[in-house]
């Protein structure tokens, strides 16, 4: 039996909503899909910059990125 081990170099460390995560290199859209977040119900930012919904599939996550998601809430 062969065990496949991911090489360390294919993994990156990112901060997702202030929690550190070791993940494979992937796009923002793939990451959101992987953790099961409803993409239509949230807005996203990386390193303090808004990422529009239609760009999520193009943005490749990089080591050290800070990903934040926002959701609609009540407000005054």
């Amino acid at each position: 039996m062969t065990t496949q081990i991911k090489s360390a170099s294919s993994c990156i460390e990112v901060s997702f909503n202030a929690e550190l995560k070791i993940i494979e290199t992937m796009t923002l859209l793939e990451w959101l899909d992987q953790i099961g977040v409803m993409g239509d119900a949230i807005a996203t930012a990386i390193n303090g910059q808004f990422i529009p919904k239609h760009k999520r599939g193009e943005i490749m996550l990089k080591h050290g990125d800070q990903i934040i998601t926002f959701k609609p809430i009540v407000g005054g």
Partner: protein
């Protein structure tokens, strides 16, 4: 310089091309429950409610969108529009980023721009506000700036292209009413072509009536309704006060005088021949 009362009385109530009949914008925060919020929205007769955005924590990333569903339901049932805000922002950059997110999520170009300059009073930062407003107007947003009653700041906001100004009555959630009514009256006098809405600090319906009586176009409030013992009834009380204040303004309120004027017509003194 004094405003043209007739011009203000006849002007339609329209925010960036959106015709409204209710002059009461209601905040949606701090209600005892979503059901009470929904009742308050109905009782207020409002056609615009404020909403916000909040960053999520990793543990708390919700897979559902219960609040969004409830508020959307309310919108569909009552024809209410969203006015997203940038609450919690302390820099122009943060406010601009949040405005973009709000436009995507709430599908509206309207944005209440709020950039806080002092954590204790939640007083808006005039410099960061103006910077954010310039950028957002350039990017096609329809901006309602939450500002102080400072005449120079308001002038700069109007020069930047704001069609609406939203000076505070007093600090957010404080319930201190109108701390500086003469400055608000000055704004009315100076900006007859700009919509003026008092946002924040109102406590009781009489505060709202006062705002409308001095010729302001509307009020935006949250805490005074949300924290009432009976929010739906308080929402209705504010609705009536807003209508009364506007009705009084349109009717032409008498001017004050330093001397008495008898209201009963008399001829001399009744028993003195």
């Amino acid at each position: 310089m004094f405003f043209d009362r007739a011009h203000l009385q006849d002007r339609p109530w329209r925010i960036y091309g959106r015709d409204l009949s209710s002059r009461f914008i209601l905040g949606t925060a701090n209600y005892p429950s979503p059901a009470v919020l929904k009742e308050a929205i109905c009782a207020s007769g409002t056609q615009m409610v404020t909403v916000g955005l909040r960053r999520q924590l990793a543990q708390g990333v919700e897979k559902s969108d219960a609040f969004f569903s409830m508020i959307k339901e309310c919108v569909e049932e009552n024809g209410v529009q969203f006015l997203p805000n940038t609450a919690g922002c302390y820099t122009a950059h943060e406010a601009i980023q949040l405005a973009h997110m709000a436009r995507e999520l709430f599908k509206t170009k309207l944005i209440k721009v709020e950039v806080i300059g002092d954590a204790h009073t939640l007083q808006p930062d005039p410099f960061a506000l103006l910077e954010a407003v310039h950028e957002l107007l350039k990017e096609g947003f329809e901006v309602l700036p939450y500002c102080t009653e400072d005449l120079v700041l308001c002038t700069r906001l109007v020069e930047a292209g704001c069609e609406v100004l939203m000076p505070w009555g007093s600090p957010i959630g404080s319930g201190q009413g109108l701390l500086n009514p003469s400055a608000l009256t000055m704004l009315r006098n100076r900006f007859s072509d700009v919509l003026l809405i008092v946002d924040a600090g109102l406590r009781s319906p009489s505060d709202a009536a006062q705002v409308l009586e001095i010729g302001f176009d509307g009020v935006l409030l949250n805490t005074a309704v949300a924290q009432a013992l009976n929010p739906p009834r308080m929402a209705r009380a504010f609705k009536l006060a807003v209508e009364a204040g506007r009705e009084a303004f349109e009717s032409g309120i008498m001017t004050t005088q330093d001397f008495a004027v008898p209201s009963t017509p008399v001829l001399g003194r009744p028993f003195l021949v």
